[in-house]
């Protein structure tokens, strides 16, 4: 049946070519007549019905059919149900079978289904694992990557070892896309079992060294989720990250910039502070400046998250002069979607509270449009108020007045509050504001009037001058105002300033005493307050009224009011029968009730400097969220800035110490040291060209062993100087070129080559050059001007082999180009390695991680038994540039090294004499197996020489 059309869901049997009436009874027989074409319908129609078992049976039948089109159709329906949130877990057995499907969409959908339900059906999910393991070795990178994705997304703890193994393989995959998938898989494995952290750290370290833009962003994300505090892992990659940043995908940029913000705060000095100490000098560390420079173009990103990330980096880490750029670009984001606008405004509001001068030039950007969402309006208003100064106040006030008459009553009341805040911020404007607020009292909108009264109350409290006329106005208004908050505010004002309006106050009390029962609780409380205050100030007129009010309050339903009345009564209406104590209180009661009260503070939400990183979710919610990494304080002292150096001029001191024991060769080694301009830059430290470390020997008992005296030290043997022939004298008319590997590991995967040119002819050769023709890049040796007959000259060259053994094609010319010959150099695998010194514990731990497919195991050659430990070690060392691990158990010889590629791959070799085994641990299987073969033949050759 063709795939052209799809059937409506309610009659799937049609698709199987069966007559519709039978379709309930014939679920199993899908081999019926397939001639009929189903009618066309939408593949994933919106009409999906709830999980009826019979229908699921149909799907099962379709999944088990042999036709891809039916499987696909069934999978599409299932996925549509999953998307809808319906439970389809009962189909798991039928679905999981199709994981081997050849159809890429069926496979994709099965993968999607598996990740959703594997956790619920752990045992059945295991059936699919073998397929993924096979797919991990597929030549197609997309298949490898998606297999890894799904395998690591299956949350089944049993397969954790398989996942970890797959991850470790994928980290050194050729395809950057697979490596990216691997980086994304790290947090998945970590969340499944946090115990895997040490192993994952190794993986992260490797990924951090990756130079592809595709990988670095996700690698940093994994770093942030697993070990955000291991800033030391970043040092070596810092400059690379800065350089790659512009080309990384926008999502990666956000993550990297956020991480680098923390990095900068721990590694450099505060630029703002330094400015004060030493003027005019450029205070920025070059690396600090590098970051600021490379990040700056990203201000122009179309992704608001990137702009915000850059802005917060500049805000937290740049010298103060840069803030204008930050603000300009943040203001630009206000044009983006309303959600972005709302987030950016929150950040800007924090900025406007802490440093309003920065935003003052952008006042108009915060004017409120009537179409803004209500939260945006409120934040904008907050910013406008923060920006108020004496000079822009008239403009601002006009704007705020416009908001007061807006149909949005929430905005209108907020605008009234904003006027009040302006008044308290700018003391000079208080009068203008108060007049304005009073004029608002004539408005018809009650909420605005109420808000105005509350604000006036606050302002009057701050104000020291006399405003009795205003209070009188308010007292007149009180009848027309229904909002309790406003009524309560007026009553409080009258009570507080009752001495200034002696005529009106008792009258107000009289009115309210009458309506006491109908009032809201907060108004009642204020009536009681007013009664008490008046009773103290003006007992003649108010005493009876107060008594009446307190009596009413005594029997109120609300206990607060009852309490208040009980508390105030003995103060203001002392019981004559109990004389002494209350009398004392009575003298001071005026001081108690009419004590000057502190003015309320009107503040912006962000008045206090938020401790959170600008633009973070924690900052927005003003709450520390899980996973938030606090922004560290600037260090007081400049931390070592050389840690970021990728090109170290001298080898690490520790390795030097080890090499310096190679006394006899020291002089020569000095000469050679001048030769490689760039020595190794990698953590492990380079080996000295001539004095490479050699195998230690555990067999101290043997008197023949010359190194037995120092069993645990790194003993030095001369570099096995095996010569290979590049060009022989017969083919090149008398010129012979031999080469050897001086075993200097240079930067970025280049291998040093020592070339010996010998003139076997009778005439001098002029201008001998060696040039690159094809294959890995060559750093050619210096040309030889004249090569006299019978003389030999040594030259150095470098070839960027990395960890491939591709032949490097060379072109040898002499006599000014008259003579020319082609040649090629192919390195033995062992020469692509560099020794790594490590302890026995490290060796066991590290090699333990490289098991299974990463382990090449085989028998030692028979002849090995004839060799002593030291001979065996020498045999290994002559075939591969490795160093013995000290402290290996007796009967075993361990060697460690790594490839010289830019992304070093560790290599571990273990010889077990008792078990007669030779094991090579290496992630790269080809490298491992070739090395194993070479070692075996090397040992056999050494034995046959004896």
């Amino acid at each position: 049946m063709s795939n052209g059309g799809f059937q409506p869901y309610n009659s799937p049997m049609d698709q199987l070519g069966l007559p519709p009436p039978d379709h309930a009874s014939s679920t199993g027989s899908q081999d019926g007549d397939r001639g009929t074409r189903s009618s066309a319908a939408d593949p994933a129609g919106s009409a999906f019905f709830s999980g009826d078992f019979k229908k699921h049976d149909d799907l099962r039948a379709m999944l088990e059919s042999s036709k891809d089109s039916q499987k696909l159709e069934a999978m599409r329906r299932i996925i549509a149900m999953v998307a809808k949130g319906k439970d389809c877990s009962d189909l798991f057995p039928s679905v999981v079978k199709n994981v081997v499907s050849k159809n890429s969409e069926v496979k994709k959908l099965v993968y999607v289904y598996l990740t959703r339900y594997a956790e619920e059906q752990q045992d059945l999910a295991l059936l699919s694992i073998a397929t993924f393991q096979r797919a991990l070795k597929d030549p197609n990178q997309l298949i490898r990557a998606s297999a890894l994705r799904v395998l690591t997304s299956i949350r089944v703890p049993v397969i954790l070892p398989i996942q970890t193994l797959a991850l470790q393989d994928a980290v050194s995959d050729m395809s950057a896309y697979v490596r990216k998938t691997a980086a994304l898989a790290i947090p998945k494995i970590y969340s499944l079992d946090p115990e895997t952290k040490p192993q994952l750290m190794g993986v992260i370290e490797k990924l951090l060294a990756d130079k592809t833009t595709l990988v670095v962003g996700v690698a940093i994300q994994a770093f942030e989720e697993i070990c955000p505090n291991r800033i030391d892992l970043i040092h070596k990659n810092y400059r690379k990250l800065c350089e790659l940043l512009a080309d990384v995908q926008d999502w990666g940029q956000v993550v990297i910039i956020n991480m680098l913000t923390r990095y900068v705060r721990t590694q450099f000095l505060d630029p703002a502070q330094q400015n004060q100490k030493q003027e005019r000098q450029n205070p920025l560390d070059p690396d600090h400046e590098l970051l600021l420079r490379t990040v700056r173009p990203l201000f122009q990103s179309q992704n608001a998250a990137v702009v915000m990330a850059v802005a917060q980096l500049y805000y937290h880490c740049a010298p103060p002069g840069y803030m204008n750029i930050v603000i300009r670009h943040l203001v630009r984001l206000l044009r983006a979607s309303p959600e972005v606008q709302s987030c950016v405004l929150t950040s800007l509001s924090a900025l406007s509270a802490s440093s309003p001068h920065l935003l003052s030039g952008h006042l108009k950007c915060f004017y409120i449009h009537s179409t803004d969402s209500s939260s945006v309006k409120l934040v904008k208003l907050d910013i406008l108020t923060n920006l108020a100064t004496d000079s822009n106040f008239p403009v601002l006030l006009r704007e705020l007045q416009a908001y007061v008459s807006s149909p949005d009553s929430e905005l209108a009341s907020a605008a009234v509050r904003a006027i009040g805040r302006c008044a308290s911020q700018l003391p000079d404007t208080t009068d203008t504001c108060l007049n304005n607020l009073v004029s608002l009292l004539a408005k018809k909108d009650e909420s605005v009037v109420a808000e105005a009264i509350v604000v006036i109350k606050k302002l009057l409290q701050v104000q020291t001058s006399d405003h009795s006329h205003m209070i009188v106005d308010l007292a007149r208004l009180v009848d027309g105002i229904a909002i309790p908050r406003a009524r309560a505010s007026i009553l409080w004002l009258i009570g507080e300033y009752c001495d200034r309006i002696p005529k009106i106050a008792p009258d107000v009390l009289r009115k309210f005493a009458k309506s006491f029962l109908e009032e809201e609780d907060q108004v009642k409380l204020q009536i009681v307050n007013l009664a008490a205050k008046l009773c103290v100030c003006n007992p003649k007129q108010a005493r009876l009224l107060a008594q009446y009010v307190l009596n009413l309050a005594k029997y109120d339903q609300n206990y607060d009011i009852r309490d208040r009345s009980r508390f105030l009564r003995p103060l203001v209406l002392p019981d004559p029968s109990v004389a002494e104590p209350t009398l004392l209180a009575g003298k001071r009661v005026k001081k108690i009730l009419l004590a000057p009260k502190p003015a309320p503070e009107v503040q912006s939400r962000f008045a206090e400097k938020s401790p959170f990183q600008l633009g973070s979710l924690s900052h927005l919610l003003n709450l520390r969220l899980p996973g938030y990494q606090a922004l560290p304080d600037w260090p007081a002292e400049q931390p070592d800035s050389s840690v970021r150096a990728v090109a170290a001029p001298a080898p690490a001191p520790s390795s030097m110490a080890a090499y310096s024991r190679g006394g006899p060769k020291e002089q020569k080694s000095k000469q050679k040291q001048q030769q490689p301009a760039e020595a190794s830059l990698l953590d492990f430290g380079p080996t000295n060209p001539t004095a490479a470390p050699a195998a230690p020997s555990k067999s101290t008992s043997r008197p023949v062993d010359p190194f037995g005296l120092m069993p645990d030290d790194l003993l030095l043997l001369p570099t096995p100087n095996r010569m290979y022939s590049l060009v022989n004298k017969y083919s090149a008319s008398g010129l012979q070129v031999d080469y050897s590997f001086p075993r200097t590991c240079l930067a970025s995967g280049r291998i040093a080559l020592s070339l010996v040119f010998t003139n076997h002819s009778s005439a001098a050769m002029r201008h001998v050059t060696l040039q690159h023709a094809a294959g890995p890049a060559l750093q050619p040796p210096e040309p030889i001007d004249t090569l006299e007959p019978g003389v030999n000259t040594t030259r150095q060259a470098e070839v960027a082999w990395g960890d491939s053994t591709t032949a490097c094609q060379l072109l040898l010319r002499w006599d000014n180009g008259a003579q020319e010959i082609r040649a090629s150099v192919q390195p033995p695998v062992g020469e692509l390695l560099a020794p790594v010194t490590m302890s026995a514990q490290q060796f066991t731990a590290e090699s333990g991680k490289l098991k299974g497919l990463n382990e090449e195991k085989g028998r030692l050659p028979e002849a090995a038994s004839q060799l002593s430990d030291s001979d065996l070690a020498e045999a290994v060392r002559s075939s591969a540039n490795l160093v013995a691990v000290s402290g290996a158990p007796t009967g075993q010889l361990w060697f460690a090294g790594r490839s010289c590629a830019s992304r070093p791959i560790p290599v571990y070799v273990a010889l077990d004499r008792q078990a007669n085994l030779l094991r090579v641990h290496c992630e790269q299987m080809t490298l491992g197996s070739v090395l194993h073969r070479d070692l075996c033949s090397g040992i056999a050759a050494a034995a046959s020489k004896k």
Binding site: S153, S342, L617
Partner: protein, 423 residues
């Protein structure tokens, strides 16, 4: 970062969900619905909602809420931008973002959701790459598939763009007709106060392209007056250095439609708002229960151009229950549910001397309600083609790297952005 994504329509129906880590039950959305009921309109739902254990970050687009559930610290703009990108991708695939387009293509959308995020972190969000991984529905293609018997919308190979250094461009692009179109759209954001003076005015422009060019074309777009461009944001394909130094756009474009640049036009001095509005709106009249409204539009388009698609919208206070008006041009409607008056004037021909269209009449007030004491704003939208308000003009477009001669087109449009007249 993102744990789950829910698509919710306006009637509160969760019609699609996708989980990237452990499954989070739908009930988490109850917190969201709570906020929805608290707020009068869906636009007012706060984009970030805090719940006891999760944080919901949502966007509202095309009558739908896209809700992302997060558990820990994450840059909020990251999630918001991602959700918008997701909606953009859906739009790119099905020509529109709507509940029906998603429901009709639920499997493809679900596949896309699986591809854009892995473990909650964005994986592939370039629609050029996605389209190679998952093919968009296309009538022609589905016909061809029927004939050839191919049956999969999922590609089996990795799009080459992923690994190239121009990841935004699809490889192997071929067109019979090579075309490149540029739309320069400028929007005027302004608030005009009741006396007719502009309180604030800004012009924001964007250049949207539709590029259908074969091979790997390298384009250079230069402007006559590039100094007008301020605060630009650029598509990643634009070479930043050249823009900074030479003020021109040099880029290898993605295939299809995309936004090349957005900018703010520097307009020192007064911006000419191309129309004027006279208005009287009062909710109280001496006679009975009715208000009065009179609106007059005085068009001031640049010479030789016309105001088109002119629409005036007046959100009225709740107390206005209806309107009986007479429009001298176009037609008006009053939506009693949202209390909005919409006057669609349409095209204004300035040459004909049609004068100034007016809308005038009475507003019916709800009986018993207090007379509102507020001043509604009048929102205006219009467009003028063939003209940019800032005066920005393209100088030339050069093509390098390919031999053919493409068809080039530039269109200028000025529109009203957030243009508002206060009364």
């Amino acid at each position: 970062m993102i744990h789950s994504i829910f698509f919710i329509n306006n009637s509160g129906d969760i019609f699609l969900e996708k989980h990237y880590k452990r499954v989070i039950p739908k009930s988490i959305c109850d917190y969201f619905f709570e906020e929805v009921t608290k707020n009068s309109s869906p636009e007012n739902v706060p984009p970030i909602i805090q719940t006891p254990n999760h944080i919901l970050i949502s966007i509202y687009r095309a009558q739908m809420h896209f809700v992302a559930v997060c558990k820990s610290e994450v840059p909020p703009l990251f999630v918001i931008e991602f959700l918008h990108r997701l909606a953009d991708i859906i739009k790119d695939y099905f020509d529109e973002v709507s509940e029906t387009s998603i429901k009709d293509n639920v499997v493809i959308v679900y596949e896309l959701l699986d591809e854009v995020l892995d473990n909650g972190f964005p994986l592939a969000t370039e629609s050029n790459i996605l389209k190679e991984l998952i093919r968009p529905p296309n009538l022609l293609r589905s016909l061809a598939d029927t004939m050839t018997g191919r049956n999969s919308t999922v590609s089996a190979t990795l799009p080459t763009g992923q690994l190239s250094n121009i990841p935004w461009r699809r490889s192997g692009v071929k067109y019979a007709n090579n075309e490149a179109y540029f739309d320069i759209v400028e929007e005027l954001d302004a608030i005009v106060d009741k006396f007719g003076g502009a309180v604030c005015a800004e012009v924001h422009g964007s250049i949207d392209c539709l590029i259908k060019l074969s091979g790997v074309p390298d384009l250079t777009l230069s402007f006559v007056n590039s100094r007008l461009i301020e605060d630009a944001s650029l598509h990643p394909c634009v070479r930043h250095r050249r823009f900074e130094v030479e003020r021109l756009l040099s880029f290898v474009p993605p295939d299809g439609g995309f936004r090349l640049m957005a900018y703010r036009a520097s307009c020192h001095g007064n911006l000419p708002v191309p129309l004027d509005l006279r208005h009287t709106i009062s909710f109280k009249q001496a006679s009975g229960n009715s208000g009065h409204l009179e609106l007059t539009v005085i068009p001031r388009p640049p010479s030789g151009r016309q105001l088109e698609d002119l629409v005036l919208t007046v959100p009225m206070p709740r107390a206005v229950s209806g309107a009986s008006l007479v429009a001298s041009a176009g037609k008006y409607s009053y939506d009693t549910a949202s209390r909005t008056l919409v006057w669609t004037v349409g095209r204004l021909d300035s040459q004909k001397g049609a004068g100034s269209p007016t809308l005038c009449g009475t507003l019916v007030m709800q009986t018993g309600a207090p007379v509102p004491d507020c001043r509604p704003s009048i929102l205006v939208s219009f467009s003028i083609t063939g003209w940019t308000i800032s005066g920005l003009k393209v100088n030339r477009l050069d093509l390098h790297g390919e031999k053919y001669k493409p068809f080039k087109g530039v269109k200028y449009v000025t529109k009203a952005g957030k243009l508002e007249f206060r009364t």
